[in-house]
């Protein structure tokens, strides 16, 4: 008989959290800390969702989404997790750019970018200051229809090289394009510029392990290999979930699954007003990604290349080209032994943004061939900077949109959830179905490690308020 993954759970919970991505984990932790009875159900065997890692023989460990996040993570981890987790967050040393338009290294903060924009791109100080101030003044609730492309053009007319510098890292940080609302650019760019880019020392596995420990200390029940098929309603309100075919009673549900999956499959469109169903259907998903993971042999190393290295072979910036299967732009995340102190290992993860459709339609043979091509072209691209790298590699493999979709059940492998309109739909769910919330990457600004953690906090506040108001239930 298969093992009963749900053995030992309670008869009823205040909150069931579907999925253990960073939004789900954070929401669960806060509610657990407040004394609520919380159960996390995760279909995969590992917690963390896209904040994940994998191990390979001969001691290789690869991080999927540990490339960088803004300094705000320190405060959020301190407050909503613990001091130990917060204390392991450290600034990266440097970010490099190399493309036909420019090539240099930066600490990626306002001070250094001001200098670079003035010295290298000959922009007057007032224009640069004005740009930074405008970028910082955007609010998520007033979208006036300006796109990022229009905003950048207004600030730096005719300077595609400047737009390239400002947009490329953000396109990698949240999958946004020049056609997305300027406010999403302004908010995310300003978050990074306040103090630069940070990562978690010790690796994603350590962070998720520490989070799991904290959750257990706060009384949260966690079950893996536990796939939720359905949210059950009674009298229009949340009454439970069905997991691995078994009903579990609860007063509220927080879905950390993809927004559209939550509405269309877990709850069912018939439980929403027709206009809401329409707006949910219109929500666009973010683009997906491809990655190539390269582990060096024990004892081998490479010279400092920066921690994040944005490369492109195009002589202009173009959001469409950034996702094309004919890859012109790659970001190399370089991991030196100090990422995982004591490991002594070097590795490189190459990331490119990608379109689901380009990969989903391939036959099995064509898929394998494309994957092999992706790997080979990545090594060739890296050899331009590290000519002897091929001989030092001990492990190399690739992930495509299908890989991300399989492991985290994200729709179409979306790396960063949905486009901006997804935020309003996500926030609107509890008005449609009392007791139901969605927390997870949406709206560009609520994606990434920091965005999803903070969204988990926002939702935990609403769930706690609902449970207080419905004590008698």
């Amino acid at each position: 008989m298969p093992k009963d993954q749900l053995k030992g759970i309670q008869d009823e919970y205040d909150v069931v959290v579907i999925g253990s991505g960073l939004a789900g984990l954070t929401c669960a932790n806060i509610l657990g800390r407040m004394g609520r009875r919380v159960l996390i159900l995760e279909h995969h065997y590992q917690l963390g969702g896209m904040a994940t890692w994998f191990k390979r023989k001969r001691g290789h460990i690869f991080d999927i989404s540990l490339h960088g996040f803004p300094h705000g993570m320190v405060k959020s981890c301190k407050r909503y997790w613990n001091d130990d987790i917060a204390s392991r967050i450290e600034p990266i040393r440097g970010i490099r750019f190399d493309n036909p338009q420019f090539s240099f290294e930066t600490t990626y903060d306002r001070k250094d970018f001001t200098r670079i924009l003035m010295e290298r791109f000959q922009q007057p100080k007032e224009r640069v200051e004005d740009f930074f101030d405008k970028a910082r003044s955007f609010n998520f609730y007033d979208d006036d229809g300006t796109t990022t492309g229009q905003f950048l053009e207004r600030c730096f007319p005719g300077r595609n090289d400047v737009h390239h510098l400002l947009m490329e890292p953000i396109a990698y940080a949240n999958g946004s394009t020049l056609a997305d609302p300027a406010l999403t650019f302004g908010i995310v760019f300003s978050n990074f510029m306040s103090k630069g880019v940070y990562i978690f020392k010790g690796g994603t596995d350590l962070m998720i392990g520490l989070m799991k420990k904290e959750l257990i200390e706060n009384g949260v029940d966690i079950r893996i290999y536990s796939d939720v098929q359905q949210v059950q309603l009674a009298g229009g309100k949340v009454a439970g979930v069905v997991c691995n075919g078994r009903p579990i009673k609860c007063k509220s549900v927080v879905s950390n699954a993809n927004l559209k999956v939550t509405i269309q499959h877990l709850i069912g469109e018939e439980h929403f007003a027709p206009e809401f169903v329409e707006s949910a259907r219109r929500v666009r998903l973010s683009s997906s990604s491809c990655q190539v993971y390269m582990g060096l042999k024990a004892g081998e190393s490479f010279e400092y290349l920066g921690d994040l290295f944005f490369t492109s072979t195009l002589d202009h910036f173009d959001s469409v080209a950034l996702c094309a299967k004919d890859v012109t732009s790659r970001t190399f995340s370089c991991y030196y032994p100090d990422t995982r102190p004591g490991s002594g290992r070097y590795s490189i993860v190459s990331s490119t943004n990608a379109n689901w459709e380009d990969w989903a339609t391939l036959s099995e043979d064509a898929y394998e061939a494309e994957k092999a091509k992706l790997i080979e072209e990545t090594i060739l691209a890296l050899e331009r900077y590290l000519p002897d790298i091929r001989g030092k590699l001990d492990w190399i493999e690739a992930a495509t949109p299908g890989t991300f979709s399989r492991y985290t059940k994200t729709m179409q492998g979306a790396t960063f959830g949905t486009k901006f309109e997804g935020l309003g739909v996500s926030k609107g769910i509890p008005e449609q179905v009392p007791g139901m919330w969605h927390a997870g990457s949406v709206g560009i600004i609520m994606s990434g490690w920091l965005g999803t953690i903070n969204y988990g906090v926002i939702v935990s506040n609403e769930v706690d308020s609902y449970l207080s108001r419905n004590k008698a239930v």
């Binding site: 407040m34 405060k75 959020s76 407050r79 926002i458 935990s460 506040n461 308020s465 207080s468």
Partner: protein, 81 residues
Amino acid sequence: MTREEIRKAIIDILADIAPDEDTSGLKDDVGLRDQLGLDSMDFLDIVMELRKRYNVEVPSPDYPQLATMTSCLNYLSPKMA
């Protein structure tokens, strides 16, 4: 609770949320955001702490009422009377 007690309760919450800031010289009519460098997540924490410690509910449309100490006191006094 008296107005003075509510003031003390808010200061206690602020001291936990912004441990590195000096809350002793807070001006009642200047925005808390500017005086203590608070951001929107900090205001959310104030709301969560008010519920946890005093069982007071501040719905999101009312968040602007928490802008200054005076507006906090005006808004919370009837709720925490």
